[in-house]
């Protein structure tokens, strides 16, 4: 049986007006993300994958086309509505962790739980990513991988339905990258959060339930992956 959809996008086109030139980042893209799914979005830089993710996550608005979150059509022109949407439903993880340097790991997570509706305690979120021991450390005292796991804990602490990750391992070495991916997998398995991971690293693709390839602003292929690769087998 097909799971219900979390995102549905129809006819998404995004054109960046750069003054003298116009850059078409998305060309008439249709896309869905299902509940509990771990999706890997693959593509070279400039293929439009980040643009797609940003529009789905309410960080950017399409030039044309519509986005539905569950049954609700997103009013992508309304800044306040998008803020509310990000606040309660979507978690983000970026390549550069974007932690608040003046706050400890726990406080970085608390930043989100203080404004969310039904959050998990910060300590629980950090335990989920294996950072229980480093809970009172400041970002400057944490390694890159640890910082990224704090970022993941911060993203999942509000119990979002979906987690959007843009090159989460892009700045990490293989071993640390694996730890981060394991944390994502655990979130997906234990909380049932749908996850979309953007990467240009094809090696990661095997961990997803579904692999979508993008090129030149279009979806080039969309495949199911019945056999998820074990993360220990991933290498780059």
């Amino acid at each position: 049986m097909e799971s219900p959809t979390i995102f549905r996008a129809e006819g998404l086109t995004k054109i960046y007006d750069m003054g003298e030139v116009q850059v078409v980042a998305l060309r008439d893209v249709d896309f869905t993300l299902l509940e509990g799914e771990l999706l890997v979005l693959l593509g070279a830089s400039g293929s439009g994958k980040s643009t797609l993710l940003n529009i789905l996550g309410g960080l950017d608005s399409p030039t044309e086309g519509s986005v539905w979150y569950r049954d609700q059509k997103l009013n992508t022109d309304n800044e306040d509505e998008l803020t509310e949407y990000r606040r309660h439903h979507v978690g983000f993880v970026f390549q550069f962790y974007n932690l608040i340097p003046s706050l400890t790991a726990r406080e970085n997570v608390a930043l989100v739980t203080e404004i969310a509706e039904d959050p998990m305690p910060p300590a629980e979120a950090l335990e989920l990513v294996g950072l229980k021991e480093r809970i009172d450390h400041f970002p400057a005292q944490l390694s890159g991988g640890e910082q990224q796991r704090v970022a993941i804990a911060r993203a999942v602490a509000k119990r979002p339905q979906v987690l959007l990750c843009d090159e989460p391992t892009g700045a990490l070495d293989l071993e640390t990258g694996r730890i981060v991916l394991r944390a994502l997998e655990r979130v997906n398995n234990e909380l049932g959060t749908a996850i979309a991971v953007i990467t240009h690293n094809a090696a990661i693709a095997g961990m997803g339930d579904r692999i979508v390839r993008m090129s030149s602003g279009r979806i080039a292929s969309d495949e199911r992956n019945p056999h998820r690769t074990h993360i220990d087998e991933i290498t780059w």
């Binding site: 803020t83 406080e107 509000k158």
Partner: protein, 786 residues
């Protein structure tokens, strides 16, 4: 290096808000130097020239009457280089176009003798010594009453109405601030200086071959005190009222007060402003170097030397200062001219010009450049000290630790966002403290300025609504019996008359002595009262003397007790008198006694010298004119009218004054808070973007960004209050003169206003930065490395 020059231009443009805010502070500093110090120097030069040219005396003394033969003995006093004897008296004037009489201070003049404090003629000529009814008047009086050469006005001299014709208009170095005796601000309509030929004046006032005022000039080495002692000794038999030096000469004293104030303001204010400039340049350049780490690395990798890189950032600072300097010189010269014109309204100089001193400009420019260099030092050093390889890497993340509130156990109470704010402030304590001090200074200048307005208001209100409640006061030409009171009360419009006696005395306590006048009043007098600093009336004791605190201090008298009083009239008895109360008042150096007690102390006939009158409404002008025509009256004045003039001037000038004050004081607050917020945005744009992604609204993020500045402002306000309170107190202590003391009144309104104006400045600065925050592109910020 052309590429670097282009980069400099673009960096300046990119940071124009910060550059301009710093330039504005520099401009204010330079403007203050050029206007205040410039005015100070212009006034000093003009005054010294005038004093020099007119042979301004060093010592004056008034006396009853001495024959001209005494002159030789005065000339013989050791240290005296020149002696000038004069005849001087007050008389009523009747101007054709005025309903109200004016008072004239008549002085003798001799066109053939080079006198001390010589007049400078603005037009016309001096009257000949035997020329009848021809006079010279002072310029301000002529202007205020539209008198020109050839015009005439009435003068009641020795009981006779004379028609006096103006033959010349002049200014006197002894009346650069033309103040009627006993007055605190000039009223040129009703007070005029009138000079008449010596022999004519002598004949009119029964002073042939005699004088009642003397002025001395001293040799360079002479001791002023010793000369005054000897002068008093010589004049004692002739009713000498005690000699005094320039420090007690009213016109000199007022001018000196202005000069001191200009010199201090013109030094202190720019010093603080330039310190703020150094601080702002320091934080702005450090941040600029931080954001340009990689550019610096590339420049160095391409072979630019440390000197090139350092010079680049130094030039950034110098250009910001240069813009401010040019603007400051322009505004300073303009404002200096405005100030000098303003001084010409009050003070009279033969040739007062705003002098645009090149040396002053040079000093201002050099000091600005120095402050720029000091401010830039930190940023320049961090740019030159950066090894290229390290500069290529992003700066390592800043280290934080729990703030002091959390360590004190308040952790539970603070939200994560509150902790961010507190830790950011604590991580850069010096910057936070200096920012707070800068804002505090803005607050303190407002407190000081508003205090000055309040103090003057209070002083005037006290004087004219509580102390002097009479409608008019009358000075008699010569002592009259007390029964004159009944006569005055019988005048139709007079509802109450209270006579008083004024006796000149020399008060002596230990080795200290001071000339003063004792005013004798009745116990049930209501029109004039003794009022203490809190505005409460003090009952006149039936026996003994009440002294102004100022007078008591001059005599070294801390507590009530006995002192000696040498009466300077009649048979000049010297007696012991009990001081029973010392009162903190603000105007004049007064001594009061019950009238009977004064009669006993002074001896002689039981006479009075003047009266205070309360009138039926609307009769003032008519009564004044009627009284002025009486031969027994030498002066009629209306404190009420003076108060009305004061109120009018105050109401006209107040708003403009407050506007300048707020504008001037807010510049620092604006610049400090703007740059603080702007740098915070640049440093933490990434954090704020992260928060937006996490679902914080624009409003919440803005609150977070500005909380730090808000907190600094809130901490700064009470510090500024304290500083302003202290500065006001220092001002009170710096201006203790015989004429006036400033009441120390800093009320809640002043504190509220200074805080409110500073908060408004902070909000305006924040709104400017907020516009930039709103334009921030979330995604691009997050996609870049730190």
């Amino acid at each position: 290096m052309r590429a670097l020059r282009k980069k400099l231009g673009r960096d300046l443009w990119h940071n124009r808000g910060q550059v301009l805010s710093i330039a504005a502070v520099v401009a204010t500093a330079i403007m203050t130097v050029l206007s205040m110090r410039g005015t100070y120097e212009s006034l000093v030069v003009a005054r010294d020239d005038f004093y020099q040219e007119s042979a301004f005396p060093h010592i004056w003394a008034n006396l009853e009457r001495a024959p001209e033969s005494v002159r030789g003995r005065l000339e013989a006093i050791d240290g005296v280089s020149a002696v000038d004897t004069r005849i001087r008296f007050m008389a009523n004037l009747q101007l054709d176009n005025r309903d109200v009489p004016a008072t004239g201070l008549f002085s003798s003049v001799d066109p053939d003798v080079r006198s001390l404090g010589q007049l400078v003629l603005r037009s016309g000529r001096l009257p000949g010594i035997r020329e009848r009814d021809r006079v010279v008047v002072n310029e301000k009086f002529a202007e205020a009453n539209e008198l020109e050469e050839g015009d005439a006005f009435g003068g009641i001299i020795n009981g006779q109405m004379r028609r006096l014709q103006v033959v010349g208009i002049a200014i006197s170095p002894e009346y650069m601030y033309p103040l009627a005796p006993g007055s605190i601000f000039p009223d040129n309509e009703t007070f005029g200086l009138v000079w008449m030929g010596r022999e004519t004046l002598a004949a009119e006032s029964d002073m042939e071959g005699a004088f009642n005022e003397v002025a001395l000039q001293l040799q360079g080495s002479a001791q002023e005190e010793a000369v005054i002692d000897e002068l008093d000794r010589v004049l004692k038999p002739y009713g000498g009222l005690g000699g005094y030096g320039r420090a007690e000469q009213i016109s000199h004293q007022f001018l000196e007060g202005e000069l001191t104030q200009n010199r201090n303001t013109g030094t202190l204010i720019p010093a603080v402003f330039l310190a703020v400039v150094a601080f702002l340049l320091n934080i702005v350049l450090r941040r600029l170097v931080d954001t340009q780490r990689q550019e610096i690395a590339v420049l160095k990798a391409f072979g630019y030397t440390n000197r090139d890189v350092g010079w680049f950032y130094l030039r950034f600072a110098l250009l910001a200062v240069f813009i401010g300097t040019v603007a400051g010189i322009g505004f300073g010269v303009w404002f200096g001219n405005v100030m000098v014109e303003m001084y010409k309204e009050f003070f009279v100089f033969p040739d007062l010009q705003y002098r645009f001193g090149f040396d002053l400009v040079m000093i201002a420019v050099v000091i600005s450049i120095l402050s720029a260099a000091i401010g830039a030092l930190g940023g320049v050093r961090s740019a030159t000290g950066l090894p290229p390889a390290e500069a290529m890497r992003p700066k390592s993340p800043a280290h934080f630790r729990p703030g002091i509130f959390e360590r004190m156990g308040f952790e539970e109470w603070l939200s994560s966002t509150a902790r961010m704010v507190l830790r950011n402030i604590e991580r850069q304590p010096v910057k936070s403290i200096l920012s707070a001090l800068g804002v505090a200074f803005s607050v303190s200048v407002l407190v000081l300025g508003m205090f000055m307005f309040d103090a003057i208001e209070y002083m005037m209100d006290l004087q004219f609504n509580k102390v002097q409640r009479e409608d008019i006061s009358v000075v008699f030409e010569r002592p009259l019996p007390e029964s004159v009171e009944i006569e005055l009360e019988h005048m139709p419009a007079v509802t109450r008359a209270e006579v008083y006696r004024a006796v000149p005395v020399r008060l002596i306590h230990g080795h200290l002595e001071k000339e003063a006048g004792i005013t004798g009043r009745r116990l049930d007098d209501e029109l004039q009262r003794i009022i203490d600093e809190d505005g409460r009336p003090i009952r006149l004791p039936p026996d003994g003397l009440v002294l102004s605190r100022y007078l008591a201090d001059q005599l070294g008298l801390k507590h009530p007790g006995p002192i000696r009083a040498e009466i300077l009239e009649g048979s000049r008895p010297e007696r012991t008198v009990q001081v029973v109360d010392i009162v903190d008042d603000f105007l004049g150096a007064s001594a009061y006694m019950e009238l009977e007690g004064l009669h006993r102390l002074a001896g002689g006939v039981r006479s009075v010298n003047g009266a205070n009158l309360k009138l039926a409404p609307g009769t003032r002008d008519a009564v004044m004119s009627e009284l002025a025509r009486k031969p027994s009256v030498s002066g009629v004045s209306s404190p009420r009218k003076m108060y009305e003039i004061f109120r009018q001037q105050m109401d006209e000038g107040f708003l403009l004054g407050v506007f300048f004050l707020v504008f001037f004081s807010s510049i620092i607050a604006l610049a400090v808070i703007y740059n603080g917020a702007r740098i915070a945005l640049s440093e933490r744009g990434r954090e704020l973007a992260s928060l937006r992604v996490l679902g914080f609204s624009k409003q919440e993020v803005a609150v977070l960004l500005f909380s730090e500045q808000a907190l600094i402002t809130l901490v700064a306000i009470p510090i500024g209050w304290l500083l302003g309170y202290w500065m006001s107190w220092a001002m009170v202590n710096a201006f203790v003169t015989e004429s006036y003391r400033i009441p120390f009144i800093v009320d809640a309104g002043t504190f509220t206003f200074s805080a409110a104006a500073t908060i408004v400045a902070a909000v305006i600065s924040s709104l400017v930065v907020r516009r930039r925050l709103n334009r921030y592109d979330l995604i691009s910020v997050l996609k870049t490395r730190d």
